[in-house]
Symmetry: C2
């Protein structure tokens, strides 16, 4: 019941108008920065493994029946005394399209998820907020500096103009070119490659389904659309071109396009709070929890606890009512966890027929 | 503009009440049948590879610096004369948790997507439909028999009582036990194992985040909740137990729980139309496009065309307004397509630095 009260408090009264407009176009983009730490770990691991005389990834052998096979993957074994089963990340095979990319970039299911998210955002902003008589009582959806995940706090907006803040990669923009290259190459993230992608890939992107129409509709309603992204400030002209080509512009650098300065933190809270000083942020869209609050990326938050905060706290009622999430199983800070973290121990199962053997 | 008119036609007038209740709990389930053909291919391939004296998956070696490494994955090389890059399905490593499972079962992002979908469903049904004065003018969201994807048709409901139809697996129920077993074993789907899962796993499931609260709220509003699933009619008591344990019951077999009879087709249209003869289906929830219409699974529909039908047709405005989709990148009919089907040719990119080498 707490949850119900919380959302009522945030949404307050609504008007007699219900917005029933849905839009349609496809996008989703890749937040390169989020990948860095995970993938640099993967790189380190594979370097250590490339020491003779053990087989090496890529090495070719001939089997007894004459077939050639190639070692594609090695894992370091736990040293004696460690747990017997060490979870190892699945490794994509170069040249194939891994299932998470098939889903995000190729399936109608992911397209539908995106359209649904943008339809919900439009209904919320257009139907529930735009026609309020006393706009000064509208609540910002940015958590205040003294918030915690179990005690989120929000302020009212006063006279600031309404804005919606979006992440860019895989939120409004699908990085089709970069991910096609990643699928062809197989595992391994390279920051230099991502930078070259920002610089040369502006025509190899598409809008996430629903993003371009919803953003155009928000602007025509007089609501400012702001992009808060970890794309680099040093490649600004190319990011602006990519947004324009995908039908997501126009943007103004420093006002409606906020990039990450070199050496600035990847966390977005500071930039969000700066935007919130100038605008009333009535909705946010992103594909990562960090697009809503840096608190989700606290180092001491375990995988199950991180998941739990989205559903079993006062955060829960925000999804679809101010906070709008887009699908992205391809990369990001949600792709973590070994067996016991992803599957609660009391929910694990083993096939009884196999157990008997 | 056609899209906007279409949705307005479907939704019609709405009331002055806006439902602002969100709910929270976690689920998602596995449609075994879809997996079969893909995975049996993978099994065949890996058998061929397990021939000495080449390294074998699982074999342990010691590197020069004394570290122990294990061969976890091998791939068969193309025979000379074959295309240089033959797309090969990505191979999960037994004992690890593949990224798509980390996302669906372990991430806060997927939990948020589910909560958002259920919040949208609740807002739609409770806010826009329940308080209509003339309920006979409410439109069913089940496409009529003479529909096509480019020309979807819907009828009005007359005096039939309102109902919401849900798929079960990975829509209202997360098959944590089955998927934990699948992650431990690595690739390979086994119909017998899925049947044993239906029979013995009723306590190893959870509700999808948002499902249990939304379903309870719908029922307390006087709206009938019906499950239309491909789980087998022969294991009915176990499926009922699983639904009850996850907090999704009660159900009545044959009325609010529709299972698949042995030898019946996996398509759900016939069962949907039978339900629609008794109820006014005002909303549907599913994780697969086949949970909304079998037309999406037509054999002549290419991967890009299938994706396109969800966003660039009169289907688009249904997402979030009558049709509600839940995330599932782990299995299903959306996980298809090679490089050129997932990534449009004119959007593919290659790192210019690598090209120069």
């Amino acid at each position: 019941m707490n949850r119900i009260l919380a959302i009522t408090g945030l949404v307050l009264a609504s008007t007699g108008l219900s917005g029933c407009i849905a839009a349609a176009v496809p996008i989703a983009a890749a937040a390169g920065v989020v990948k860095t730490s995970q993938d640099s770990k993967a790189r380190k691991r594979s370097k250590r493994q490339q020491t003779a005389p053990a087989p090496q990834p890529g090495q070719v052998y001939t089997t007894e029946d004459g077939q050639k096979v190639q070692v594609t993957n090695l894992t370091a074994l736990p040293t004696p005394g460690e747990a017997a089963v060490a979870p190892v990340a699945a490794k994509p095979v170069p040249g194939s399209v891994p299932p998470e990319m098939q889903f995000l970039y190729g399936s109608g299911e992911a397209s539908a998820l995106s359209l649904q998210a943008y339809a919900a955002l439009w209904t919320y902003v257009h139907g529930e907020l735009r026609f309020r008589r006393d706009k000064s009582q509208i609540t910002s959806v940015v958590m205040t500096r003294d918030s915690t995940l179990t005690s989120p706090k929000f302020g009212t907006c006063g006279k600031r103009p309404m804005a919606v803040v979006f992440d860019v990669d895989e939120t409004v923009l699908l990085n089709l070119g970069f991910e096609s290259d990643a699928a062809r190459r197989g595992p391994g993230y390279d920051q230099g490659r991502w930078t070259r992608w920002e610089e040369t890939g502006a025509d190899k992107v598409e809008a996430v389904p629903g993003a371009a129409e919803t953003i155009a509709a928000l602007r025509s309603d007089g609501i400012t659309v702001i992009f808060n992204t970890n794309r680099s400030a040093s490649t600004a002209p190319f990011t602006i071109e990519a947004l324009n080509r995908a039908g997501l512009g126009p943007v103004t650098l420093g006002d409606t396009l906020i990039l990450r300065d070199d050496n600035a933190p990847s966390g977005k809270d500071e930039r969000r709070w700066q935007i919130a000083e100038r605008y009333c942020i009535v909705a946010m869209g992103g594909d990562q929890l960090g697009d809503f609050s840096d608190l989700f990326n606290a180092k001491d938050l375990s995988t199950p606890a991180r998941r739990n905060t989205t559903s079993n706290t006062l955060i829960a009622p925000l999804w679809g009512h101010g906070w709008f999430i887009l699908p992205n199983p391809v990369y990001g800070s949600g792709l973590k966890g070994g067996m016991d973290e992803v599957f609660p121990k009391d929910k694990q199962w083993a096939d009884p027929a196999e157990e008997k053997k």
